[in-house]
């Protein structure tokens, strides 16, 4: 059963496509640190010019995948190809072509904005003038601070400068590992606007983020958890794949409602989302009336419920739960 499934997947990913068409190909990659499996049989493909998102919480294995693709880490097994080059054998070719912004990248704190940019431009064998058009929109925002030391910039500014440095040599593929972590909401949305603009320049962008709301801005996303890819698709298809009707409910005592619903046999899942709780029912023909009837048993004050469109996060939590159940099931089968 598992074997056939894998075969189908592989065929779907690699069968019909000429591998030269894709910018990034990752095939059955496994990376272990001792007993811990950081990347567990991961396969996906990124098309040229695509904005591809790797979505998952901390510790999902995103950074390890990025490091394998940028030739910094050797996978224990599996293959990875970037722009037609193998990450192990032809690592230098890849290093010449890609741009990479690591998660903890913080530039040279004691160099000014201008000096940082000039340094990276020279290292990549180019000049600021040569590719100025590419970074102009971003660089204009930090230009007033060009004589300020990088260490004295705000978090958002640092990210913009780091992006400039990663872009300065007009890379064919841009790898951004959690570029918006630790950045304020306004800078985050600005940053994503920049990425969308960059896409117009035909640069393939692979970006990772733990923020589910950023996922819908990508062309395609891979949902990752515990080193495994749970799903790869366009955001709207991932939302569509949510199999149940989703309700958002609200009451005066939201915590009590959550506790009550979790013990109810008719309710399949129930999770807190800000001031709402998101609910799915076990029965297929669910509607708001049915949810109200269930709620009546617990007499919540000011109870309100409505049908809502699922978000990426809802899908993610659902897939995560399925994966965990599968894991438990496996353990039971194995007699643990």
């Amino acid at each position: 059963m598992m074997v056939t499934l894998k075969l189908v997947c592989t065929e779907k990913f690699f069968g019909q496509n000429n591998s030269f068409m894709s910018a990034v190909t990752l095939k059955n990659c496994i990376k272990k640190y001792g007993d811990f499996v950081a990347v567990d049989d991961v396969s996906f493909e990124v098309q040229k010019g695509e904005l591809f998102g790797l979505i998952g919480p901390d510790g999902a294995g995103k950074t390890s995948v990025f490091r394998i693709l940028t030739t910094l880490l050797l996978a224990d097994s599996g293959t990875a190809i970037v722009e037609g080059h193998d990450v192990v054998k032809e690592f230098q070719e890849i290093r010449n072509k890609v741009g990479y912004m690591p998660g903890k990248f913080s530039l040279y704190q004691d160099l000014t904005v201008q000096e940082n940019l000039e340094f990276f431009a020279t290292i990549f064998g180019t000049t600021i003038e040569e590719n100025y058009e590419l970074i102009k929109d971003i660089y204009d925002q930090i230009k007033p601070f060009s004589n300020r030391r990088a260490g004295k910039l705000s978090g958002g500014m640092k990210q913009k400068l780091a992006l400039c440095c990663a872009l300065i040599h007009k890379p064919e593929v841009l790898f951004l590992d959690e570029p918006t972590t630790g950045v304020d909401v306004v800078s985050r949305s600005e940053f994503w606007q920049m990425l969308i603009k960059l896409k117009e320049q035909k640069i393939t962008i692979v970006v990772s983020t733990p923020y589910m709301d950023e996922a819908k801005l990508c062309d395609r996303i891979a949902l990752m958890q515990n080193g495994k890819i749970m799903s790869v698709d366009e955001p709207k298809n991932i939302i569509k794949s949510f199999p149940k009707t989703l309700f958002a409910a609200k009451a005066k005592n939201i915590y009590k409602l959550l506790q009550d619903f979790r013990t109810d046999k008719e309710i399949e899942s129930c999770d807190a989302f800000g001031e709402f709780i998101h609910i799915t029912l076990i029965s297929e023909d669910a509607n708001e009336e049915r949810v109200k009837e269930i709620a009546k048993k617990y007499n919540p004050e000011n109870f309100k419920v409505k049908i809502i469109e699922p978000t990426i996060e809802d899908t993610f939590i659902r897939l995560m739960r399925e994966q965990n159940n599968l894991g438990e099931l496996k353990e039971i089968v194995n007699g643990k």
Binding site: T70, L73, G103, F105, Y108, F124, G125
Partner: protein, 381 residues
Amino acid sequence: MNWHATPKEQQINMKRLLAFIKKEFYHVFRDKRTLLILFGLPIAQIILFGFALSSEVKNIGIAFQDNSHDIHTEKIIAKIQSSSYFNVENPILNYKDIENRFKDGSIKCAVIFSSNFGSDLQRPGGAKIQVIADASDPNTATIVTNYLTAIVNDYQQQLNPTAKLNYQIIPELRQLYNEQQNGSLNFIPGVIALIFMIVSTALTSVSVVREKELGTMEILLVSPFKPIMVLIAKAIPYLVLSLINFILILFLSVYLLHVEIKGSFLLLFAESILFIITCLSLGLLISNVTDSQQTAMLISMMGMMLPTLILTGFMFPLENMPWIFRVISHAVPSRYYYSIVKSVMLKGLGFEFVWKETLILAGMAAFLLTIALKKFKIRLS
């Protein structure tokens, strides 16, 4: 490395290297702590070793108990007084007084003349002087008693210059290479070796590891800049800084401590470059195996500086050490450099006298550099 690069590629590679070196200098000159270590430390060490930490014994507190008060005791006391080694304190009143003054440290030495010293001198039995020295520091005590014996003997010689013993042997002493007993001479080669260890080994390893901590190493690796070039670009600025330091120390030694450079300056310079390369290789090797600046610092300090201090023979003579330490000392590069500098700078010897040490040092440099380059990680793990 691609040796068959086109001229244009070579030009770009050169530009990259220069940009990297420029960046390294920015790091050094913008960090006050690094600057302090780089230039403050050599000056402080030269001054410390040159003026404060002297092994010569001077200004020793001395007190007399003169029970005779005759012309001879007065003359001997006057002789001791006129020597720059001693500071004469108030006379001793009684035996208890001696003990108290030794205890509070006001004197290091007491001299007691017997009563009838002058008349005893004329008799066959001779006169007696008791010399009591504080031997809690045995070195000082030995030196003090030697000084006093010499002064007393000298006086005796003066008394009867004609009296000659049969078969007298007179040792003619000469302190070769350091006639003035200038204490600075011995430690300068040691300080130079120590400074190179700090600048070339510790600072280099810390500066590589800092790139790892910052995450910039990942960027440098994922760039057209060849991994090996990262190492070379890191090493060059510290080689230059070490040489500036070397000249600074020599300048201070010559003009502040009046040490003469007897041998060839060029030979000294070339040997120093060789030793710096050895230290740089060590630093790069350390940076390969550590991931934090603290660890890198600790390893270079504990692993490199302590052996340099203890096992090169500049603080403690190697000959007096147990055999195990003498064996270990053969693996310490600074031992050879120390001996080369001593031979060239202080004794004025040429290359033909230091080729053995040079060869060993060159072998060490080649060995360490090969390992450092081979072990350099072109990936993260």
